[in-house]
Symmetry: C2
Subunit: 408 residues, 2 copies
């Protein structure tokens, strides 16, 4: 038997069924007209934003990293809730545009921005988080050609990292940003070229569950930003401090102590040097805002036994929820939080493998998990499906087509 990850807060049971945003899964599936289905809860999104606003100093703005979940209804729901939007491509620029988001609230990071993407962003008035000297040159040239001063921040590759993060974005050689020691020269050349100076973006890592590690990284970010601002000789209009706030996916993952992070940020803000008096500060969060607000639902279409092992075969799978399956193979595969949504809260009585419908042994949603007895027709829920689920999975693989997505 292998444990499953912790089910997030905000999910309850009614008549033995999982309830999402006040509605039973069988109703949700009926409304959607199908499984597989991603359900995103507005109440959950609101609660997470509320918790963050309560914990963080008012000085610290909240940006949403669209890449975590670019569903139009999610972007639209976040529009009044957050201060800014971070995008990673021309495609995401079009999505924020379609949602009517003021381009002045949008910043664009990404190591491989094409000229057409730069032009669209400059024309719209979006801030570019420039990733290299070459990219800055191209942006300035495009701005000159179309007669519009680009709004430019520099993405810094810091010499420190976010310790314990799932994905390190700083410390040593990286394809992201400009090495810190080259930032002042680049910033002065951007300023000298007449661009609108927008400050710095310093991203140190993602998916960290240790408050201490986040607090240390944020302290380092502020210190580095202050030092660079001095060296540049110009105040920073804005400092994007990055994100990195993780969510618990796996057994023994401990929830991030948001209160501790907030308290540290209060201390940091109170101690900011005078040069930061008018600097906008923000954190950029994706997964932390939307990850636990999403549930992936699929239906059991076969129950079979092979050599004594019970398989629940669903109509979902890794083409929709690649990360939950283990990303096409990991050495130690761990179970995301999962449940039989139509037997929610019932006594677990058997150990089963919950698999997807794809013709590959990698298509496993839950491995040797203790579950209540489930049969054909029951619905399986995989939690923590709100970030990097539908948009980060190979939807075309094996021709089953994409899942439906709904927000309630």
């Amino acid at each position: 038997m292998k444990p499953v990850g912790p089910i997030p807060d905000g999910y309850s049971s009614s008549n033995g069924e999982l309830v999402i945003g006040g509605r039973r899964v069988s109703e949700l599936v009926k409304d959607a007209g199908q499984t597989p289905l991603f359900v995103y809860s507005r109440a959950h999104l609101d609660r997470r934003v509320g918790e963050l606003r309560a914990a963080l100093p008012p000085r610290i703005g909240l940006n949403y990293a669209v890449k975590a979940n670019p569903h139009p209804a999610i972007i639209a729901h976040m529009e009044p809730l957050v201060d800014g939007f971070d995008i990673a491509s021309g495609g995401e620029l079009a999505m924020t545009g379609a949602a009517g988001i003021d381009p002045a609230r949008v910043s664009f990071a990404g190591p491989g921005k094409r000229d057409d993407e730069l032009e669209a962003a400059i024309a719209a008035g979006v801030t570019l988080n420039c990733e290299s000297e070459g990219e800055a040159q191209r942006a300035l040239a495009i701005g000159g050609r179309i007669g519009k001063a680009p709004r430019i921040a520099i993405r810094v590759n810091p010499d420190f990292e976010l310790k314990g993060s799932g994905m390190k974005m700083g410390g040593g050689a990286k394809p992201f940003g400009v090495d810190a020691e080259r930032v002042p020269v680049l910033a002065r050349s951007i300023l000298g070229a007449g661009a609108e100076w927008r400050g710095l973006h310093i991203f140190t890592g993602s998916q960290a569950l240790s408050a201490d590690a986040i607090i240390e990284a944020q302290g380092n970010v502020i210190a580095l930003a202050a030092q660079l601002s001095d060296e540049i000789g110009e105040r920073l209009p804005k400092l994007n401090m990055g994100g990195g706030f993780g969510i618990p996916y796996f057994p023994n993952d401990k929830r991030l102590d948001l209160g501790a992070v907030g308290q540290a940020l209060h201390r940091y803000v109170d101690a900011l040097p005078p040069a930061f008096a008018e600097t906008e500060l923000c954190v950029e969060l994706g997964r932390y805002l939307v990850g636990e607000a999403g549930v992936y639902l699929c239906r059991i279409i076969d129950r079979k036994v092979s050599h004594g092992v019970t398989y629940l075969v669903t109509d979902g799978g890794l083409h929709h929820q690649l990360a939950a399956s283990g990303n096409f193979g990991t050495v130690v595969r761990r179970n995301y939080p999962a449940a039989i949504a139509t037997q929610f809260g019932a006594e677990p009585t058997e150990v089963v493998n919950i698999v997807g419908c794809l013709c590959t042994p990698l298509d496993r949603l839950s491995d040797q998990a203790l579950m209540p007895r489930a049969d054909v027709g029951d619905i399986v829920a995989v939690f923590c499906a709100g970030a990097y689920g539908a948009s980060a999975s190979p939807a075309a693989f094996l021709g089953h087509g994409p899942a439906k997505e709904m927000i309630i």
Copy 2:
């Protein structure tokens, strides 16, 4: 420095450029109107099929596993070249239908077939490779309801595996097929229910480079099929022996000795028991047919240095070629075959990281690879991109959109 995998046969150089199917990459990109671009070579497909036909006994038919590359032009090109098509979903059923492929040549495997998929397949006259007793019951019930006898084969979960295969599909408990010892009872019930009996499908693994392992598995498959046929008491109209023929992706991968496999199959065919006199035999190949016929092309849009490490940032990435990047993280990441396509054959002079445009450190196409000097505008080629590339990658991730695909 880390080596890259072996560049497949059939690719040459002209004026310092990679030539695919007789055309230079710069011309191909111009015709396509963009990078990123997958190019599939008809000549390469023809050659692989020709080699297989020459090596295998005429008795052994050749099936194409559509899942490897479902691009419409690939399916259409394979139509006159192979004997049968294996599909894995209702979506792939629609694709073979759109290509005008006779449903009598099509068989449908997959552990999670929905009722609507079973109905479409039965109505069309496609053979179902049934994966469980429950699925067989559903198929028979649907056949009764629509007044058409389903064509049913049984997918067997064998007690042996294909040794050394990248993905084991047999041996022990599996979600695929019916445990061998339960097959005779199920087969007799299918026969008794008036279905059209289509025989057995025994798949033991995939991506094996050892001829000895394949030869051993095929011997086991034939022996098991003969035993099951005896126990069922009815001759097998067809035996799908599965595939498993691998292609070299990584440094030190050795090409499969197809001649040895063919010779063994000749011996096996000559020694078939009399009960197999009218049994259709086939192997089912996907990756082996199309994998090396495809090349993924992307353009360098930034060249940058971070702490002494050179990064070539391209407009492509893991959203198109997930496997080449290491599938969102592997313990030991190895390099697929890759080259600077616009400096093809030039002297390698520097060690570089070739990365994609996505904002994640996992988006790496080639790690510490020795390459000729390349600059912005040069085109990068990643080989072995014909199978499980475009269709098996998260095309929507970060909003850059899908790559273009062309066949020449």
